[in-house]
């Protein structure tokens, strides 16, 4: 029995010693080629091989039980340590390589997206010259025509709409890709809303819709110059959907949250079914069942601009029918009213 055990021990020792040699040679090959492993992992592999060889080879040669020798025990420990560290380093270098590959793929994707945006930009940019010429010529022709001629005004309206589409596509593409570097100087939200309402008065008048702004006289917030655009888009959307003779009420005030600013645009149009609410802000989404014109980008732009201000834009139902758009700017952006515009308490 002891002979068999001895033979088995010898075989095991022989296998481990040979494996040690093989590991050392493998490590040396890796070290020479430096392809699959990094340098220190290959050196450690060579060392692990040498330790394995040193651990078992004396037993193979002399037949002395290796467990009694401190040198053999040290070699055993060295083998496991070097092997473990080498494997760890190998695994982490493999992971790092995959991370690099992933990063490269991501950069390629980003470059492809950038190229796509550039294409949109160039397209929109190049459309502007012929648009300017067409609109300008139409304007000149319209001046020479009798007032009741319908062809040219129709042509002008279409050209105007094309211009808006080009403009919106450019802006949306820019907001989508990286978002412009927004500057947020202190602004008076109430004044901004009033200005937007004033800008849209001709549109509202043409449709026979009343615009009314209610709320505090001065409410300071931090707003980029794109914020008025977002507000205009929301209000013009309300105008589009309001029936003639209806009123759109815009309430400016502090929001429900602590120190929040809020703009509520309340219309009495057809309202928005719950199923459509979520997809309303998606690009090019437009319920055109009522034949209302638009680029389909207005609300998507508004939502994106508000998000860049770290605010939110949501839809509620107007009691009695219609939609209410609630634009909220977060508390952090709201400071005390600007002294110049806090006219509420000022003597007349």
């Amino acid at each position: 029995v002891s002979d068999i055990v001895n033979v088995l021990d010898l075989a095991e020792a022989l296998v481990i010693a040979c494996m040690g040699l093989a590991l050392a040679i493998l490590g040396a090959v890796f070290l020479a080629s430096r392809r699959a492993l990094d340098r220190s992992a290959a050196i450690l592999l060579v060392m692990a091989g040498i330790f394995a060889f040193g651990w078992k080879a004396p037993f193979v040669v002399t037949g002395v039980d290796e467990d009694a020798s401190y040198a053999a025990q040290a070699a055993q420990a060295g083998f496991f340590l070097c092997l473990a560290v080498s494997l760890y380093m190998w695994a982490s270098s493999l992971l790092a390589r995959h991370a690099t590959m992933l990063q490269e793929a991501q950069e390629q994707l980003r470059a492809a997206l950038g190229e796509k945006q550039m294409y949109i930009d160039i397209l929109a940019h190049d459309l502007k010259n012929p648009l300017t010429v067409a609109r300008g010529r139409a304007e000149r022709v319209a001046k020479a025509l009798p007032e009741d001629a319908r062809d040219v005004p129709e042509l002008q309206r279409s050209l105007h709409q094309m211009g808006a589409i080009v403009e919106d596509s450019l802006l949306y593409s820019q907001l989508e890709t990286d978002g412009p570097q927004l500057e947020r100087p202190q602004a008076d939200l109430a004044a901004t809303v009033r200005h937007a309402a004033l800008q849209l008065k001709p549109l509202a008048d043409a449709k026979g819709v009343w615009l009314a702004v209610y709320g505090v006289d001065a409410l300071a917030c931090r707003a980029d110059r794109l914020l008025p655009r977002a507000i205009e888009n929301v209000v013009s959307n309300a105008i589009k959907w309001s029936p003639s003779g209806a009123q759109i009420s815009i309430f400016v005030g502090e929001g429900g949250g602590d120190g929040e600013c809020e703009v509520r645009v309340v219309d009495h149009g057809p309202g928005i079914p719950d199923a459509d609410k979520a997809k309303l802000f998606a690009r090019f989404q437009r319920a055109d069942r009522h034949g209302v014109a638009g680029t389909g980008l207005g609300l998507a732009i508004a939502r994106r601009v508000v998000a860049l201000h770290r605010g939110s834009l949501r839809i509620e139902d107007t009691p009695g029918g219609g939609a209410t758009f609630v634009l909220t700017l977060p508390a952090a952006l709201v400071t005390s009213p600007a002294p110049a515009s806090s006219s509420r308490e000022a003597p007349a």
Partner: protein, 126 residues
């Protein structure tokens, strides 16, 4: 009759602007490049200049810089197809263009802008 120099590499746009400004009572000379405009400006001083910012060769910025260095009194109106507030800021605040027109612009805006620029220059000179 105020003399206005116009530079745009796009011939149809150049013609449109010339026609409209001529009808509005300006004496207009149109050029296909910034270099041609500057050569003409050396021969005869215009009352106002209208340049496209993005032109091959000398850009609108270059024309503005050259005029700044040689005759700072001439109002220069920038025309661009670019979007975003950055361009406008750069044009008006940093490069001191007198005014800024974004394509596509209305003919009434074109005439009003050039008239304003000419008037402002006259007031400054007086």
């Amino acid at each position: 009759l105020s003399l206005v120099y116009v530079a745009d590499d796009e011939p149809t746009l150049r013609e449109l602007v010339s026609d409209e400004l001529s009808d509005a009572g300006f004496e207009v000379r149109a050029f296909a490049s910034g270099a041609e405009l500057l050569a003409a400006a050396q021969a005869r001083r215009p009352d106002a200049v209208l340049v496209d910012i993005n032109m091959p060769g000398l850009t609108g910025w270059d024309v503005r810089r050259w005029l700044d260095a040689h005759d700072a009194g001439i109002p220069v109106v920038a025309v661009t197809a670019q979007v975003g507030p950055m361009v406008e800021d750069l044009a008006l605040r940093t490069l001191h263009f007198s005014a800024f027109l974004r394509k596509p612009f209305a003919m009434a805006d074109l005439v009003a802008t050039v008239e304003r620029a000419c008037r402002a220059a006259t007031v400054t000179r007086a």
